[in-house]
Symmetry: C2
Subunit: 227 residues, 2 copies
DNA sequence: CGCAGGCTTGACGTCCTTCAACCGTTGTGG
DNA sequence: CCACAACGGTTGAAGGACGTCAAGCCTGCG
């Protein structure tokens, strides 16, 4: 019986070292490991930037707040992802752990100092900034012009690429997180998922609503037609 | 009689030379001037990246298309702004002139080559990428969680900073452009503007609906409460 | 057990879209 | 020169997609 395959995009780097942020030629940067419990804040909006992070295990969300209790989530970061790498003086989003999470972090100054003498590292930083920008641009399109169904489909496709293992997509985020990421309400997200289940495109697993099996990725992709 | 002042933010660079993209130490980069007529396409989505541009005069829009005739505008660029500076191989947006526009452009390779030996230039590129990212993040919040009124107010505030002269805000874009930028329809944009006029927050000038005087910036800012 | 948090589902409300009519300006060809 | 189509904008009426409100289920936990 064939193993259900995730629709794997290009594999992403797994450690600061592999990515080139740390390398044998940069022995000056010290790496330390930190643990955050579910729901705790790693840093908050407008806080001065001290560290750059990489998720070792777990998952985090970056968010902003508006009046009237409105919340917006800009991105999710899971194992392997970098975050906190911004080019201003202060953070533009707050960052919270969605589940118990282990991160690696390095002082931002040491990174800057290392980049000073290392063109490769600088290009890596530029490439990462471009990756973030590309994601943000796609997400603007989603928020500005897509229907609720297209948004949820796009979300599932994105998460499937990133964290499906052994055929199971184990989402670390709540319906509220998903809603605030997609610019919807929890009810609309829930209804969209129920509808996808009724269509046979996905299945819920066990008694946890956060474990999902994507049955028909083709059809799912069809629901988020980019063109 | 006091001159009405634009709520000027930090002044932006005015030429590639001032910005540092071109400098006396980079005599290798050749600069050329190009003109595009209203409505013409400067480059299109998925086209290989050849040049990096700066608007000399006029204004351009970056846009994407979806099925069903849906359009999304990611950003507007006016005199002084850079565009086309992406880090992939191909453009992620198409770029069109909204009015007759003159641009300066340099070959992307010559820029890359110059950056190779010039840490300052590289840092400038990083800074520009960060600026774009910051704008995209703010815009995601707008598209995901703001009401139509808040969006239009935010739009006016943004454009006021960039192109109000002598107290008059002369918009280069149509209602459709504004709508596709804000994730709304032209009718909703028009109604919001009419409502602002009724409230005495702005006035239309002459017989062009694109020339506006902002009467009460304070009140306008109040309609787009970030918090 | 009792309570809180997360999810689903239904009924209803609303903000924005859709559809349509109309106006003024621009530009174009007879 | 003028008729008239094309374009951009405004406004009203009706509709719909998503939001709001509410009830109920399930699980985990003190």
């Amino acid at each position: 019986m064939p193993m259900p395959q995730t629709s794997a995009s290009l594999p992403r780097p797994h450690t600061l070292i592999e990515f080139g942020i740390l390398s044998a030629s940069n022995p000056t940067i010290s790496l330390s490991e930190f643990t955050y419990t579910r729901g705790s804040e790693i840093y908050s909006e407008k806080e001065p930037i001290e560290f750059v992070y990489q998720v070792k295990s777990g998952a985090v969300r970056s968010c902003k707040l508006l009046s009237g209790g409105r919340r917006h989530i800009g991105a999710f970061h899971v194992a392997g992802d970098f975050f906190g790498l911004e080019n201003g003086d202060v953070h533009r989003f707050s960052m919270e752990a969605m589940v118990d999470t282990i991160v690696h972090r390095v002082r931002r100054e040491s990174l800057d100092a290392a980049a000073e003498n290392d063109g490769t590292l600088t290009r890596d930083l530029l490439r990462m900034a471009a990756t973030n920008l590309g994601h943000a641009e796609d997400h603007m399109l989603l928020l500005g012009r897509k229907t609720s169904m297209e948004r949820v489909a796009a979300f599932l496709i994105e998460m499937d690429k990133r964290l499906t293992t052994a055929g199971i997509l184990a989402l670390p985020m709540t319906r509220r997180d998903i809603a605030d990421y997609l610019g919807l309400t929890i009810e609309t997200v829930s209804r969209s998922l129920s509808h996808l289940r009724e269509l046979g495109i996905l299945r819920f697993i066990d008694n946890s609503q956060r474990h999902i099996v994507l049955v028909d990725r083709q059809q799912l992709a069809g629901l988020d037609r980019q063109n």
